[in-house]
């Protein structure tokens, strides 16, 4: 007997996600270098202080564009439903007591994952718009200074919220065993799917049975 897995992401979706991961890391750490003096040493990883200032906005634009592809691919499965609010209300039991019995059944994404998706979406939009407003090399000199001052604060705020979101996102993947496989190999075990995303599991298994029956006919 072999362990059964369910495909969760295509190769292209995983390549897309990995590109977002790498670019987010580059944009994030080059941004942190300019945010707090104690992290200024991070500029050394980008070719020095000047280069950090030069490359940071390009990393930012690239991560936005890459995320845009992910957004289009996944937005349909991330629309908020009434069950999501119930899931969220029950979430403290899951996080604090690992009590999954109390959780409403989830489709491909549970409410926590949807929140991550929408937090990333909103933060990246804010980061792009505000970042352009004070991008010195191209745009800043034609933007009113008052607007630039609002932009720098919102840029930092959005980056902060996005970093916290990333911490939650990464930790959730580490905490829930078997999740990282979806990112590295594209599939998850049937047990994982049944336990954490039972509605999605049923859909997938039903489709598999239908395929086999269609073949028999």
């Amino acid at each position: 007997m072999k362990k059964l897995y369910i495909q969760r992401y295509t190769d292209n979706q995983r390549i897309n996600h990995w590109l977002v991961v790498v670019l987010f890391g580059l944009a994030g750490f080059s941004g942190l270098a300019l945010f707090h003096p104690n992290l200024f040493f991070l500029t050394q990883f980008f070719g020095g202080p000047q280069w950090t200032r030069i490359v940071h906005p390009y990393f930012g634009v690239a991560v936005f564009l890459m995320f845009l592809l992910m957004f289009v691919a996944f937005v349909g499965k991330n629309l908020w439903r009434r069950e999501d609010t119930q899931w969220l209300n029950a979430a403290p039991k899951l996080v604090l007591h690992a009590d999954e019995a109390a959780m409403p059944p989830a489709h491909k994404y549970n409410a926590g994952q949807k929140l991550v998706f929408w937090s990333m979406t909103v933060c990246l939009l804010v980061l792009l718009v505000t970042g352009v407003l004070f991008w010195q090399a191209w745009f800043a000199s034609s933007v009113p200074i008052g607007l630039q001052r609002v932009a720098v604060v919102l840029h930092a705020l959005a980056a902060f919220i996005m970093s916290l979101t990333a911490v939650v996102h990464i930790y959730a993947a580490i905490w829930v065993k078997g999740t990282l496989r979806a990112m590295t190999q594209g599939n998850v075990s049937a047990g994982w799917a049944k336990h954490h995303h039972v509605l999605w599991y049923r859909d997938k298994m039903e489709a598999a049975r239908r395929d086999v029956q269609a073949e028999r006919l």
Binding site: M1, K2, K3, L4, Y5, I6, Q7, R8, T10, L34, F35, H36, P37, L39, P49, Q50, T52, R53, V95, A98, E100, F134, Q136, A137, S141, I145, G146, Q148, R149, V150, V152, V153, A156, L157, F160, S163, L164, V167, V168, I170, Y171, I174, W175, V176, K177, G178, N187, S189, A190, G191, K194, H195, H196, K204, M205, A207, A208, R209, V212, E215
Partner: protein
Amino acid sequence: MSSLQSLDIAKRSATTTATPDARRRIPEVAKLIDVSSCIGCKACQVACMQWNDLRDDVGTCHGTYDNPVDLTPQSWTVMKFSEVEVTPGRLEWLIRKDGCMHCEDPGCLKACPAPGAIVKYANGIVDFISENCIGCGYCVKGCPFDVPRISEKDNKAYKCSLCADRVAVAQEPACAKACPTGAIRFGSKEDMLTYGDGRVAELKTRGYDKASVYNPEGVGGTHVMYVLQHGDKPELYANLPANPSISPMVAIWKGLAKPVALATMIGAALVGFFHHMKQGPLEVPEHDEDFVANDQPNVVGVEDGSRTHVQDA
């Protein structure tokens, strides 16, 4: 400019620890620009160009005497001409020498992310150390007077250095040396305030009841001060701000936000670590139906045409 060992550094950009503080403080200096004595000859602009080796591009006429029309990376000081009628029917030509005000609490230095790219010397001069400048333009956001200019050629920020190199060797700034009417004076801040008070008293006897020295409190005072005939209306002088201060946006961004955000981000990672330590990983039990026979493809839902006979749950 470049860093000068001969002057003590009181404040340094993007530096969270104390600056060297053992040596005895030297007196604070200031430049006093007496607008009421200025004839608009622009000798100060020429002296600034000459001493600092600056040559701006030849511009175009904008219908005013302002030339160039604004500060640039190559023009660190510009005479701004304002025609006003404070008393109706009585035209006044107010000429203000614009440039860095050398704030006691410099917004540019507060906003700068590059350690040591902006320094405030113990004598009060605020200077840009170009070799450390990264060209981000944050100083522009921090400045309440809209003074720093970023060069499009070399991506460095430029502004008046108050001739820190001359002051270091006991010379007055080039503009002060060139001024033919004595409208630009340079000395200790104390002396300049005393001299300014004398000028204000003199102006009051001539009917300028609201004359005053411009040394705005909102930035902790400045090391470039003006004697204004209409001290109650600094905006008359080419929009000199009445109550300049560092924008609250910049104050939040470069104040509380930095330590709080950093601590929260590190805190979030620690919460995750200790959550895992206490809860352990969230694992799923294995059941028979989660396995398939060895002759079956074991990944469901791959779009390669493979078919898996899954057991009924």
